[in-house]
């Protein structure tokens, strides 16, 4: 063990998460016979898919030593935009104008809206030097307010069977949301490991001053990263909306915390520069399994929160311990 620690802390973190996950599954499986069924398995994965999308974006941001608190609200707003455009299109009675949206058009509009909201976060952070925590906290409120305005506070429901495929459909025996999350993970993994952008992300988080001197346009990189995170939040929002066949104005409340938890449990350092997409996926799976297990075991929702918080703490403390030695 000690030899492994010295050589590669990231792999060790991954190994620890894996051990934690296996232990967790074993405990739940012993206590509940419903846990290890196919139905439940797909159900858990479907639920995790949304958090994975958001957490992947969050990981990219955290790797640059930033944070995004607005993902939950952006998720709600973009889900609502997609639902609203799909159902009602754009009507302007004064100009006698009506634009209808196909599913694809509505999806694109939602995702572009997410990217723009993320880009705006990045713009405020890079242009006005507002700390990411504050800039995205403001966006959390703004996007939530815009969601309320857009929906008038009411859910937008009955979006049609074709749209609901995204959240509830199957493809080649695997739920569609799992396909989507899987693609997102693969692409993000590729970006972080095999591209210049990925290197720049790690460099900025590792030593921003050195990155500037090395000729990296750190503002550009940050804008891209925040835009990606916004777009991925939108993808999550579309999945949630599709699954429920309804865009809820208060959807995604608190999702940013689940995403940050997944990133942290996955071993990514909040001070930037260290971590991986794979770790985050592991973190998201652990949280998802834990949520599912607690429900299956009929633990009261109040206790569920306590347990979840405790698991986050334990995961991070173990991770820290491993790095210090």
């Amino acid at each position: 063990m000690i030899a492994i620690q010295k050589n590669n802390t990231i792999n060790l973190a991954r190994l620890q998460s894996l051990i934690a996950l296996v232990t967790l599954c074993a405990i739940i499986a012993i206590l509940s016979d419903k846990f290890l069924t196919m139905d439940n398995g797909w159900n858990v994965l479907r639920q995790i898919a949304v958090n994975v999308c958001i957490s992947v974006g969050m990981t990219l941001i955290v790797l640059t030593a930033g944070i995004d608190l607005s993902v939950g609200s952006v998720l709600a707003l973009c889900g609502a935009i997609t639902a609203g455009l799909l159902k009602n299109g754009i009507k302007m009675p004064s100009a006698d104008l009506f634009i209808g949206f196909t599913i694809l058009g509505a999806l694109l509009a939602g995702i572009i809206a997410g990217a723009l909201l993320g880009w705006f976060n990045g713009f405020v952070i890079t242009k006005f030097k507002v700390p990411p925590f504050v800039a995205t906290l403001a966006m959390l409120t703004i996007a939530r307010g815009l969601t309320m305005l857009w929906t008038q506070g009411h859910p937008i429901s009955n979006l049609g069977p074709a749209f609901s495929v995204i959240g509830t459909g199957w493809f080649l025996g695997i739920p569609v949301p799992v396909w989507i999350a899987g693609m997102v993970v693969l692409i993000a993994s590729f970006i972080t490991r095999q591209t210049r952008l990925g290197r720049y992300i790690y460099a900025i988080g590792g030593n921003e001053n050195a990155a500037i001197l090395s000729g990296i346009s750190i503002n550009k990189v940050k804008l891209i990263v925040y835009s990606i995170a916004g777009a991925l939040a939108a993808v999550g929002g579309i999945m949630v909306t599709s699954r429920l066949d309804s865009a809820q104005p208060n959807a995604g409340t608190g999702y940013e915390l689940d995403a940050i938890a997944a990133v942290v449990i996955g071993g990514t350092s909040l001070s930037g520069g260290k971590g991986s997409i794979g770790g985050t996926v592991m973190g998201a799976v652990i949280i998802g399994v834990l949520n599912n297990g607690l429900v299956l075991l009929n633990v009261s929702p109040f206790w569920q929160q306590v347990v979840k918080g405790a698991v986050i703490l334990i995961a991070v403390i173990i991770d820290k311990g491993g790095k210090k030695k």
């Binding site: 210049r196 720049y200 520069g273």
Partner: protein
């Protein structure tokens, strides 16, 4: 009287102070003089309890002092006023003066009235006309310094050490400071005054101590000294005639800068750089010397596009005027900067050697315009590891695990990878061992022979004199000399580095 006897202080085996002896007289202003790195600051840190692990004795009023820390030194009456002031900008003057020693009334509540009253008295004494409730952050540097002095007076210090007190204040503020120092002197306090500005020392100091290479070489009465004699004692080394490594003449200009000015970060401050013009030729190594605060690093940074808003002037690369507003543009024009602080600005310590070396040239290591070519990257880093003799078992080793010299080579490697025509080196040998040092000198020679133009900034005169073909000297943001190394000697270079103060 404060006496230091046989003080030796080592940092990780490197001797910073070597058997130092000195006497500081009460009722006098004692000037400590020496080049950069002579050991002045270290000595002062020993005397004020910052460093407590030294050999030798400090004797204060006939008693051997065993300081346990700065608090202890303060309690015994020794206070240091650092160059970078130790005040909390968000607190008021009163709160700063009483920080950590707040006065409370009988039931433990802060006695603000009493503290304000005492602050007023102290401020009157240091002639600072300011509201005790004013935030320290709203004061000018010179005023903040007076607050520091007031703080020292409050603790009833009998020894006050001032480290470069005039480096950041205006002439008027200097005059005021001198009046206060005068008063403190007449009250019998021991003033220790460190400054590079010789003219000032002749105005204010009674006694002097010259330090060189970690030793005290001479002390005496200021009035009996001349400036030239002092400079000689500062450089001291058997005046090794110019190293004159090249008799070559360089004709092809690569970098020509014209009237570079850099404004101060504060609105009313003096220019950091004033009218700097010089030319760097192909194959030439130009040494740039200056004392602390002369503006060397700022000049490098300006050339590299780090101060686009505050800088003016013209830069020509190969006689073509260029506009450098960002490091990206600087790199595009073939300029590379090896920064002074390699840990803060040069390296990503937590990442692999390979990743650090390739970061500047990733755009050249892509296939199909998007995917990083891992093999090419490994080849590149292995190549530089071998060429520069970086001691590591693998290019995948973490940069932070290497020694200072090897880390510096990684920084050099990442810049050489960009194939620069102009290499700016800011203190490239600081804190690295002698072997790595010579390797770096040799590398510089080789690069210059291959046609690179190199600007070498160093605080070490011998380094400048042995490594350069030509020497530039800066003082207070101005270029004061530009001479071939054949004409440069330690004493005349140092004279130009201080010159401004003498002639001013």
């Amino acid at each position: 009287m404060l006496i230091a006897r046989n003080i030796t202080k080592k940092f990780a085996g490197v001797v910073a102070l070597n058997n130092v002896n000195l006497e500081l007289h009460p009722g006098k202003v004692n000037a400590i003089i020496g080049e950069n790195g002579a050991g002045k600051s270290t000595l002062m840190k020993v005397l004020s309890g910052v460093h407590v692990d030294y050999e030798g004795d400090i004797i204060f009023n006939n008693e051997v002092l065993q300081l346990t820390g700065t608090k202890d030194a303060e309690a015994k009456g020794i206070v240091i006023i650092h160059q970078e002031l130790n005040l909390v900008p968000g607190l008021s003057i009163t709160e700063n003066i009483f920080l950590g020693r707040e006065k409370c009334n009988a039931i433990g509540i802060l006695d603000k009235k009493e503290m304000t009253r005492q602050t007023q008295k102290l401020l009157a004494k240091v002639k600072l006309d300011a509201d005790p409730a004013a935030l320290v952050g709203s004061l000018k540097v010179g005023q903040q310094q007076l607050v520091e002095i007031a703080k020292a007076l409050y603790t009833n210090a009998s020894v006050i050490i001032m480290d470069e007190p005039t480096s950041a204040i205006s002439d008027k503020e200097v005059d005021n400071l001198f009046v206060i120092i005068d008063e403190l002197r007449s009250e019998g306090k021991t003033i220790v005054y460190i400054s590079h500005k010789l003219k000032e020392l002749f105005t204010i100091a009674d006694r002097f101590v010259v330090m060189r290479d970690g030793c005290t070489v001479e002390s005496g009465v200021m009035a009996e000294m001349t400036q030239d004699a002092l400079i000689r004692k500062m450089t001291g080394r058997a005046v090794n005639g110019p190293a004159g490594n090249t008799k070559q003449t360089f004709t092809e200009p690569v970098l020509r800068v014209q009237n570079i000015n850099l404004k101060s970060t504060s609105r009313h401050g003096a220019n950091v750089l004033t009218d700097i013009s010089f030319t760097l030729h192909k194959g030439e190594i130009v040494g740039l010397y200056g004392l602390m605060g002369a503006g060397r690093t700022e000049l490098m940074e300006t050339l590299f596009g780090l101060h686009p808003k505050r800088a003016t002037g013209n830069i020509f690369v190969h006689e073509q005027q260029v506009h450098i507003q960002t490091p990206i543009q600087a790199i595009k024009h073939g300029i590379a900067l090896v920064p002074e602080d390699r840990k803060a600005h040069g390296l990503i310590l937590d990442q692999k050697i390979k990743t650090n070396i390739s970061i500047t040239v990733l755009n050249q290591l892509e296939k199909w315009g998007i995917v990083l070519h891992n093999k090419k990257e490994t080849r590149l880093s292995k190549d530089y590891i071998q060429r520069l003799g970086i001691k590591t078992y693998s290019e995948n080793n973490i940069a932070g695990n290497l020694s200072g010299g090897n880390q510096q080579k990684i920084v050099l490697a990442k810049w050489l990878a960009t194939n620069p025509r102009i290499l700016l080196l800011d203190e490239p040998t600081r804190g690295i061992d002698i072997n790595a040092r010579f390797e770096i000198y040799n590398l510089m020679k080789k690069l210059a022979e291959a046609g690179m133009a190199i600007l070498l900034v160093s605080s070490e005169l011998p380094e400048i004199l042995t490594a350069s073909d030509r020497v530039l000297v800066m003082a207070e943001g101005r270029l004061t000399a530009d001479m071939p190394v054949t004409e440069a000697t330690e004493s005349n270079v140092l004279k130009y580095a201080i010159q401004h103060n003498i002639t001013a």
